[in-house]
Symmetry: C2
Subunit: 210 residues, 2 copies
């Protein structure tokens, strides 16, 4: 296997997996092509073929890709053959939305812990999970071996919580706090900030059309 | 001005703006440097200088960037000098979280409309907004001239809602639905899918550490 695959290629694999999984929902569907994937995803078919070729020969000239097989391979490549337990930090509106989100199911993840620092929230349930106090977090994460966390706390609390997560063994953080975080080498952070995404689009919106 | 600025450069400007705005919160702060921004953002200082140089001369050798001035210029460049009204489609858990999110304020956006297709939700209020029925959406968006929408609906409804938004004049959509959308040229879509972001990180997590 190629060990120098660009991050941007890895970044597209989940999109391929997501679209293939939708295709698999159709029981009559057996195969697809790079052209069909390209049209659905807005990525060129040449790019898709090149991305997948990093991992071996998946397609056959003339018959295309076998959907189920390609899903299985992408699932292996992305280390999704087992479900990853995820700790959610922050049980506000966003935390509730994330804890209630059914899209994690069958895609490799399950939120198994929710922590909050508000004593009025601790002890309450979100779905089937009881919200735990932040003071329990470090010991609990260490004991459970959880390596992935979602951060849904205000900007002011984000770095402190990140430090505590990293200290407790977390190695991948998806942060919804609108602030850049500092983490040591070996820890990954991915950000989700709706305002940053909107600002990336307004640049291209004609100023006259407000 | 350079009219062929790469998308990836534009994509970083909101991160600079966000960090500069945090710096400006400190009343003693007047200037910053590409090195300081680099350290806070995890982007190289050479990259930051190069990105900003597309738009003119902002820094001075030895004294760095004037924080307030750079904020003003980035605000102009990203077309954020006026607040953009935003329509939110979907008033479920996520819609509630977005409608309640205070991070839009003073960053260029205000959710001014919320639409939902659930008759049990229509007429209720989220914050100061009354949830309107989807059947009102097209006429309302046209009349108000809203060009930006946030989509917080299930995957199955996302393409239909997108078509209706585009038909009503929306030109930039931030979608939380876990599905690739098809839009005509001239319409921008940005996606937020926590599972895709998590899957982009599990590739790099040592398989032995689950």
């Amino acid at each position: 296997m190629d060990h120098t695959i660009p991050d941007i290629v890895i970044g597209r694999l989940p999109l391929y997996l997501r679209e293939l999984s939708r295709m698999e929902g159709d029981p009559d569907r057996i195969t697809t092509s790079s052209h069909e994937l390209a049209e659905r995803l807005g990525i060129s078919s040449a790019q898709i073929r090149k991305d997948l070729s990093h991992f071996g020969e998946f397609g056959k000239q003339g018959t295309g890709y076998h959907v189920h097989y390609l899903i299985e391979r992408l699932t292996e490549i992305l280390h999704l053959t087992h479900e990853w337990p995820v700790a959610l930090v922050g049980a506000g509106f966003l935390g509730h939305a994330l804890a209630s989100y059914r899209g994690f199911q069958r895609r490799g993840f399950a939120i198994t812990r929710v922590f909050d620092n508000d004593s009025a929230t601790v002890g309450k349930t979100i779905g089937e999970l009881v919200v735990r106090g932040i003071e329990e977090m470090a010991a609990d994460l260490r004991e459970s071996g959880i390596r992935i966390a979602i951060l849904a706390v205000p900007a002011d609390a984000a770095q402190t919580m990140t430090d505590r997560l990293v200290e407790a063994g977390v190695r991948a953080i998806l942060s919804y706090a609108p602030v850049s975080l500092t983490v040591p080498p070996g820890v990954q952070v991915s950000y989700s900030d709706p305002v940053v995404q909107l600002q990336q689009m307004t640049y291209y919106l004609a100023a006259g059309g407000e």
